[in-house]
């Protein structure tokens, strides 16, 4: 069971001849506080594993889905990815062994299409039939309607929403019962959640905060790593005591997997993110620790003193933004494995630290803030 329930966690500091994505049973952590070799589910209510399902993942080739699809296949489900095919359907992940990758890529299926073509979505899904849909990349309710129409006997629709739907508040953390903001730029997620509720389908909605981890396409940790590597100061707006929250993508994938077939999760919303929050200044320091960099020089500035045009000078919203994850813990036994430095180290070791990143470094706004241009070697 331990092998079948293999964790996707990596051994952080020890180079391992075995895959960093290999089963928990073989992965050894030197960090005494995080026993990554403990098989998943040891602490949790171990219910009977869900029967093998025919699962459709909308997306799945970019970030969350990479980890989620692997975990679902390891648990014995049939997984089809619905994508346009622009990105490779499968890619070997950093640290993933050839054998593991071969196993995964031989099993995962692809349904090529554009989810904006609602007619195609409806006909193709209806023709194939699926038990469960994971909607990882949906932004608008209109995208979800054809899926629901196509699959009237759908057992569960699991949606990747966002904690960005919460109405900004002076009282924190956000709980799932808090007011949402119908005007937020995530209102499409809200409208989707409403559609799911009114449709009568068995749905579960997951609201992550900031997601991080290897292969992150949102420059969250990468933003800090670029500056740390360049030996540059880290410009942080305001007092740097704004509090945010990061959740590791592998913990998120695990949470998505755990709600599958779980009756307690029926028609429920869950915040999923790290167990602790972090200040902006603290995050800069944590990234430095993760990458083995010296403690960074942090420069605070008043964003109102600058006009950055269309460029983003800092990757986080300039406010407190964090959510309680206790509902998932209490109701479903889902708790995050990674603490922040461990998780950032995992990301660094498997991605930026190997020389890979998604966005080239751009220090334009930094230089405006620092008031000078550094000559790069």
């Amino acid at each position: 069971m331990a092998a079948a329930m293999a964790s996707l966690k990596s051994s952080l500091l020890l180079p391992s001849p075995l895959s960093d994505f290999s089963g928990a049973a073989v992965s050894i952590s030197t960090q005494p506080r995080r026993k990554s070799w403990q098989p998943r589910g040891a602490r949790m209510q171990v219910s009977a594993a869900a029967d093998a399902k025919n699962i459709l993942v909308m997306g799945g080739t970019r970030f969350i889905g990479l980890f989620l699809s692997r975990q679902l296949i390891k648990e014995g489900h049939q997984v089809t990815l619905f994508t346009r095919g622009k990105a490779p359907i499968t890619q070997q992940l950093p640290g993933e062994s050839d054998a593991e990758y071969a196993e995964f890529s031989s099993k995962v299926l692809h349904l090529k299409g554009d989810r904006q073509d609602f007619d195609f979505v409806k006909t193709s899904l209806s023709a194939k039939g699926f038990d469960v849909v994971y909607d990882i990349n949906g932004r608008e309710a209109t995208q979800v309607s054809p899926i629901l129409d196509a699959l009237p006997n759908l057992e569960q629709f699991i949606y990747c929403s966002s904690a960005g739907v919460y109405l900004k508040s002076d009282l924190l953390p956000h709980f799932e019962t808090d007011a949402v903001d119908p005007k937020s730029r995530h209102k499409g997620k809200l409208e989707t959640e409403s559609l799911l509720e009114t449709s009568g389908v068995n749905w579960t909605s997951i609201r992550p905060v900031y997601i991080y981890g290897p292969l992150n396409y949102n420059p969250v940790e990468e933003w800090f790593f670029h500056r740390l590597k360049a030996g540059r100061p880290i410009p942080i707006p305001g007092a740097g005591n704004q509090i945010t929250q990061l959740g590791h993508v592998k913990d998120l994938a695990e949470a998505f997997t755990r709600v599958l077939g779980n009756p307690k999760a029926s028609k429920q919303v869950y915040n999923i993110s790290g167990a602790k929050y972090v200040t902006f200044d603290g995050l800069a320091k944590a990234c430095a620790k993760a990458g083995g960099f010296p403690e960074p020089e942090i420069v605070h500035y008043n964003p109102k003193d600058f006009d950055f045009g269309k460029k983003k000078a800092f990757p986080f919203r300039d406010q407190h933004f964090f959510a309680s994850v206790e509902k998932a813990s209490k109701d479903l036994g889902i708790t995050p494995e990674f603490d922040l430095v461990d998780g950032l180290t995992d990301s660094y070791n498997l991605d930026f630290g190997r020389g890979t990143f998604r966005k080239e470094a751009d220090f334009t706004t930094d230089d405006m803030i620092l008031g000078k241009k550094l000559v790069t070697v």
Partner: protein, 396 residues
Amino acid sequence: MAMAATATAAAGAVAAFTSGRRISTSPPSSLSSPFLPRAAGAIVARRRATAPTAAVLVRAQAAGAKKSVLIVNTNSGGHAVIGFYFAKALLAAGHSVTVLTVGEEGSDKMKKPPFSRFSELTSAGASTVWGDPADVGAAVGGASFDVVLDNNGKDLDAVKPVADWAKSAGVGQFLFISSAGIYTLTDQPPHVEGDAVKESAGHVGVEKYIAAEFGSWASFRPQYMIGSGNNKDCEEWFFDRIVRKRPVPIPGSGMQLTNISHARDLGSMLTLAVENPDAAAGKIFNCVSDRAVTLDGLAKMCAAAAGTTAEIVHYDPAAAGVDAKKAFPFRNMHFYAEPRAAKEVLGWTSSTNLPEDLKERFAEYASSGRGEKAMTFDLDDKILSAVGAAPVSVAA
């Protein structure tokens, strides 16, 4: 949902979750001492290895039985109100309560709330006595108790005599009001149970001592409280300025998070610990509500409760030449703990609702006449003139 193996494993998982780090769960230690009763159907609690050194007779209590509780209460300060709400919650639940207030019944301190309202306790059946915590036995006239809460001492000098007396008197459960102020500063809020504390803090010394002395002990770490009967100003500081249409000076960015709990939340948490001693045994509890509020947010909520808006002025205490501790009633930093252990271990829920609670607080403030009293605001004035003269700083 079935508990994972035993409550100990669950508690270990809880502790692991709350600290954000994995710690290994130890197997449940068997309850080997014949002197410590095991309540019927109770779950095994984590125990320290120390065996009792003296033969003590501990009153066997079945789970669900009513308890006799002694509250050793401070005679002033922010924590005084805790004993008041705890007593009320216990009485409402049918337990018997004695409040031992430090000092003398006739002292001037007793003219202030909550002491001035002790008739609310005695009319509900509580005994109120006065005395010296160094000689609790004399103060309580030799009475015996199932539970003792020390809501007085901040260090071992003050608490040791109470703890020693409790142990020799066969008290089954020893509870202590500590402080969330003992947590070391962190970049990763909130403070959760299990996080590092300042080893030199007096409260830490007490926690260690009672952990070694009692099988059934628990420590509660509060922050700030509001509630009728409070001995120390909290929201009043904001109301004083708001009703006089004065600006509200807040140090730093105003984004600092703190926890303001209604005292009834503390009373309910403590009562749950009394009623679930095995679950509570050996535990630390952050004794706070489950929401933090920004300093700016608190000012705005106080103004809203008063039916108006607040004019907030941020300032850098150093630049203004003031000591923030004197100029402002809350810590000028994030001071943010969450009550994770209480929720997971005791099934406790928070009822604090600041916007609503502050309305009730303002109603009492307004009817007290305090808003009409002449008051000086020397430090405020100093700050306001400094800010007027200098550009707004963004330093924390």
